[in-house]
């Protein structure tokens, strides 16, 4: 215990270590890219406006998957469930009950989050592999329930049509451009939330649980509650993306929320980089944007993605753009 010999250490400004050059660059370039993206409806073709909007929506879902998988370390391979719940809630409330779509958004988020909590509570104690299978089960049950037109509300295998965009400040968001802006802004909000999550005790606690749950409990962490919280938070955000999805496609159907979609989300996080926002965005772009460039090869999409998954795991297991150490 040697006080005398120490040089005066300035108290660090934040918990996280000072950002490296790459990250500092990204902190500037990232927002610039986002601002540049706002120009898409003005300069790109309609097809690309839609692609941009879809990319924003799936980024949000993928980021939410990252919360439960990349940060809290739980093998959730049924995440499309929450995405679907958000989408269906908005669609049903606005079409069958004539709610203004804007009001359906908070309900969708809360409902998805609540379901996330309720479904996860009994299963977070299961071993990783078993948890994985159970989440697949929830996903499958949900899809079946939608297909079977449960309560007569869900429209069966064809789903529901005619979901319209919101009316904000008297302006009706109907066109693809309008929806693009909406999605792009919500994406920015979610990105901001993710950044705050990383700098908060909640985000840190998720990481403790992922890295060493036992040690975390001896520090007073109620691991079970936090695991459920991770599910609930990620479900809520996925639900938000779901409402945007419903508006974007103006329709919802069971086919968008199946096992394959959950697998894609899972893979995006692991291939892009766990707990890495740029990594997840990159993975989302790979899966949803790149194939659009090569439309003649559309049927090879899953083949290529499958090969990519294998190769990335062998050659770059930390992901294409891993989170920097010390921050995550």
């Amino acid at each position: 215990m040697n006080h005398a010999n120490q040089t005066a250490q300035p108290t660090p400004a934040t918990v996280a270590p000072p950002a490296g050059a790459g990250t500092r660059l990204l902190r500037i370039v990232g927002p610039l890219l986002w601002v540049a993206g706002l120009a898409i409806p003005s300069v790109m073709s309609p097809a690309w406006i839609t692609i941009g909007g879809i990319f924003a929506i799936y980024s949000i879902v993928a980021l939410s998957q990252d919360i439960v998988l990349g940060r809290a370390g739980m093998y959730d391979m049924g995440h499309a469930v929450f995405f679907g719940i958000g989408a269906y809630t908005s669609a049903i409330l606005s079409l069958s009950f004539n709610w203004p779509i804007l009001w359906t958004i908070p309900v969708a988020i809360v409902l998805a989050a609540a379901l996330g909590a309720i479904l996860s509570a009994p299963i977070v104690k299961l071993r990783g592999d078993y948890l994985l299978v159970v989440t697949i089960g929830f996903n499958a049950i949900f899809v079946l329930a939608m297909k079977n037109n449960v309560f007569g509300l869900t429209g069966g295998a064809d789903g529901l049509f005619g979901v319209s965009g919101p009316t904000l400040f008297g302006h009706m968001f109907g066109t693809q451009s309008d929806l693009f802006y909406l999605n792009w802004v919500v994406m920015a909000i979610v990105l901001w939330l993710m950044r705050n999550l990383d700098r908060s005790s909640l985000g840190r606690t998720f990481r403790y649980i992922k890295h060493d749950e036992l040690a975390a409990t001896t520090l007073g962490v109620n691991a079970r509650n936090y695991k459920v919280a991770a599910f609930a938070l990620s479900a809520g955000i996925a639900g938000l993306a779901g409402t945007l999805f419903a508006m974007q496609l103006s329709a919802v159907s069971p086919g968008s929320f199946q096992f394959t979609d959950s697998v894609v989300l899972f893979a995006i996080v692991l291939v892009g980089g766990q707990a890495s926002v740029p990594g997840v965005l990159l993975g989302t772009a790979m899966m949803f944007v790149v194939p659009q460039i090569f439309t003649e090869f559309a049927q090879y999409r899953y083949l290529v993605f499958g090969i990519a998954m294998i190769l990335v795991m062998i050659l770059r297991p930390q992901g294409i753009w891993p989170a920097r150490k010390g921050a995550l």
Binding site: A140, I141, L214, Q299, G306, M309, I310, M313, I314
Partner: protein
């Protein structure tokens, strides 16, 4: 009563198929502690290979029984090779890596195989010729047992008995069991673990290929996404029985087959999968290691 008997017959038939496929999952999991998500797709590959063999004009001169046997053999060989290649290229490089890497690689392999099948054969349903097996049924009480059902049941049980004998009463089988219990200890005892793993990636896919081809013969059709749905059911069967546990997989397969038959019969077939999952979830919540599974204690 007749209804129950019929469901029982149906259930045991499908259960036998599930068991054959489930064994592949459980053996790989037992030895490598990983879920081979691509297994279901390998099994259905067996169906496709078998179908191609059966409908190949080049073999037109052979009698039907010989043709069938040939179809099975070729399917078994191709799938065994595919399984071995799968392990060599997608799993072996990840033996020492984190579990999640192997999961993602397996999912990638599954996508690869499934889409490969789609691209090679076509996304459409492939129909099996209907003159392959005698169209006889026997009446038992008010229920019917068809030839193909009897064939499946007999073959499945014979294979399961053979595997059980193999695993418990031969040196190689014991080596497999030892490796499943403790890989390092097995290695220290002089067991060639790599060879054990290679064996497992042959036996599992071979049984699965037989199961897959039986699916094709039973339902007289196959399509490229069947691997996922049957694979998942068989996987659930393996978990119900306790993943890694060979008798468990057999038991789980039969339990699931019967459960499915009765659930479809009494409740509704459109909710069948949901009920299957509900059963799985219920079992896992009460017995987190499956019906016959071991309780895994964590050493601190």
């Amino acid at each position: 009563m007749d209804f129950i008997l019929q469901q029982f017959i149906n259930g045991v038939t499908v259960g036998g198929i599930y068991a054959l496929i489930a064994l592949g999952y459980t053996m790989v999991y037992g030895v490598l502690k990983m879920i081979n998500f691509a297994h279901g797709d390998l099994c259905i590959l067996g169906a496709f290979i078998g179908l191609t063999t059966l409908t190949s004009g080049a073999l037109g001169g052979l009698s039907t029984p010989v043709l069938l046997v040939l179809a099975f053999l070729i399917a078994m060989i191709v799938v065994a090779v595919a399984g071995t290649l799968l392990d060599q290229f997608a799993y072996k490089p990840l033996r020492k890596a984190h579990r999640l890497s192997a999961v993602v690689s397996a999912l990638g392999a599954s996508m690869l195989i499934e889409n490969g099948i789609m691209l090679i054969w076509s996304p459409n349903v492939q129909v099996f010729p209907n003159n392959l097996l005698p169209n006889i049924s026997w009446q038992i009480g008010g229920a019917y047992l068809s030839f193909v059902q009897l064939l499946i049941i007999i073959c499945a049980f014979l294979l399961m008995a053979a595997l059980y004998f193999f695993v418990h009463h031969t040196r190689v089988g014991t080596a497999i069991r030892a490796t499943a219990i403790d890989q390092d200890a097995a290695r220290l005892m002089g067991i060639n673990v790599n060879r054990v793993i290679a064996m497992v990636f042959i036996i599992g896919p071979v049984l699965g290929a037989i199961g897959g081809l039986f699916i094709g013969l039973y339902y007289r059709q196959t399509y490229f996404t069947m691997g996922w749905s049957y694979g998942l059911n068989a996987f659930i069967a393996a978990i119900i029985g306790g993943i890694g546990n060979i008798p468990g997989a057999m038991l789980g397969g039969l339990v699931l087959g019967l459960f499915n038959a009765f659930a479809a019969g009494y409740i509704s077939s459109s909710w069948q999968d949901a009920i299957t999952f509900a059963l799985l979830i219920a079992i896992l919540l009460v017995r987190p290691s499956g019906l016959l599974g071991e309780r895994v204690a964590e050493k601190v």
